[in-house]
Amino acid sequence: MTTTEVKSEQKAAKPVTQLGDRIFAGSAKGAGIAILVVLAGVASFLLIEAFPAVTAPESELPGGLVAYVGPLIFGTLLGAVIALVVATPAAVAVALFISHYAPRRLSQGLSYIVDLLAAVPSIVYGLWGAWTLAPLSVPLSNWLTDNLGWIPLFAGPASTTGRTMMVVGLVLAVMILPIITAVAREVFLQTPSLHEEAALALGATRWEMIRMAVLPFGRSGIISGAMLGLGRALGETMAVAMILSVSGAVTFNLISSENPGTIAANIALQFPEASGITVNVLIASGLVLFVITLLVNMLARYIVERRRDFSGAN
């Protein structure tokens, strides 16, 4: 009785369900394709708008595009590398502390705080760097140039405002520290407890266990976290724009008032007032930044893929 009713209903409903499936699958696929279209749009619109800068005559753009972007690339890389060098060891230590040293109850709260700090807007770090850290750095800069002035990095003369590449690097380090820590912590926590127990069963101390089991397992995680942080540091705009006093000089001197700018900060500072060929030049420099971060991401992926086979994670 009921069965036959159900059957006839199904017959009637059948094309409808197929239609529903087609529509749903189609829109899901459409969304995916839309992303590809958007990305193709990003690339092509930027290229179109950047092109006039490449062909600009000498009269409009003295020295050409390379002379304009070159120092900026240098500054971008310098600031990001300082940040990476400072932040990575600290982040690994913080991640180790959270995953293996802190009491369990404390470690949960700490990881929550780290996640929260990773989300703090960059404008906040910019204000802090310009307001708090820059003045604080002046005595340190003076001491560095007095005592370690023979190292080119600290040649001086020390800036009196503290708006130096060193402060920028440190602020960027503070910004990317939570990001690297979050990634490294996740990986450390995923170390197979069998590996850890095997090390402890061999009579290892805690440090030896970490060196034998945790760090080798987490190496690719540390690298990918560091690359993620590097990508953020390269593209960071506001913190740099608010802190650095730019002269356009290409120098490794980190504590003087003569500093190279960075691509992103330069765009933020120049773009609102820019017109004509300057807009195209700035967009071209943005493209260069995009390519640099893309290369960093590719490198990170390559390293992680290559290391995966040796990490012992299966």
Binding site: T3, V6, Q10, K11, K14, T17
Partner: protein, 259 residues
């Protein structure tokens, strides 16, 4: 309810790989048919082809005919979704929907398909299905609790109740007791004995004692080697298969002398 299933020269492929070859089988209505055989012999694949579940794996396809009371299940205008409404399935591990209560799990087949039904109809369906699955007395006081809070055996009976709530003609069971303890297994086996009054049941099992206990007919699948297709070696009444099978391979397998 309870219809016959008939396979004629059925080949099942995954892409270019022939997984099961040349199955000819008639399953009589309102009987229990057990499919036994070594791992990888294609018995689960065959079971899944009966309600076209194997099509969820990309590249899966069949050749030959599969009929439900003479109706071609793989006809050009047959919707696999419709096939599955007539042929229910119970899986290896109990899989109640975690977001739904016991009550909602039973009527999931109707709810998910937006079938309109009055509250009293739904209540009737829930009670009928849970009684049919021998679960009513254990859960009638907590129908609004999540289904995932039940024990493994209860969850599996809930899944059976869910399957029979949509009144299918055939019930497929893919090793329904392999994740359960002996007492829950016994409860399911008792249930299978009662269910065959209404449904045609096909059950895949690794446990030969179970096949002997619950089934009227037994089919033995075998495979000659890795990469070769699985084949139906023999299908007969269960007592014949276990006492005097016609094929040497069947005898070796049921007597435990399998290579």
């Amino acid at each position: 309810m309870g219809k016959s299933v008939e396979a004629k020269d059925l080949n099942i492929y995954y892409g270019s790989f022939l997984a099961v070859e040349g199955v000819n089988m008639t399953i009589k209505p309102k009987t229990v048919t057990a499919l036994i055989g070594p791992s990888g012999c294609g018995k689960s694949t065959f079971l899944r082809s009966i309600n076209r579940m194997h099509e969820n794996i990309p590249g899966a396809r069949v050749e030959g005919r599969l009929e439900l009371d003479g109706q071609d299940l793989y006809g050009a205008n047959v919707d696999p979704v419709g096939v599955r409404r007539q042929i229910g399935m119970v899986f290896q591990r109990p899989n109640p929907f975690p977001t739904m209560s016991i009550y909602d799990n039973v009527i999931a087949g109707m709810k998910l398909n937006n079938k309109k039904a009055s509250k009293s109809e739904l209540d009737d369906t829930v009670e009928r299905s849970l009684r049919g699955a021998n679960l009513w007395n254990e859960v009638k006081d907590r129908l609004e609790k999540p289904g995932s809070g039940l024990s493994g055996g209860q969850q599996q009976r809930l899944c059976i109740a869910r399957a029979i709530a949509v009144r299918p003609d055939v019930l497929l069971m893919d090793e329904p007791c392999s994740a359960l303890d002996p007492i829950s297994t016994l409860a399911i086996e008792d249930l299978i004995n009662e269910l065959k009054n209404d449904y045609t049941i096909v059950i895949v099992t690794h446990n030969m004692q179970q096949a002997a206990r619950v089934s009227d007919f037994t089919g033995f699948f075998n495979i000659e080697g890795t990469g070769k297709p699985g084949k139906l070696v023999e299908l007969d009444e269960t007592k014949t298969i276990f006492s005097q099978p016609k094929q040497k391979a069947t005898e070796d397998y049921v007597s435990g002398r399998f290579g």
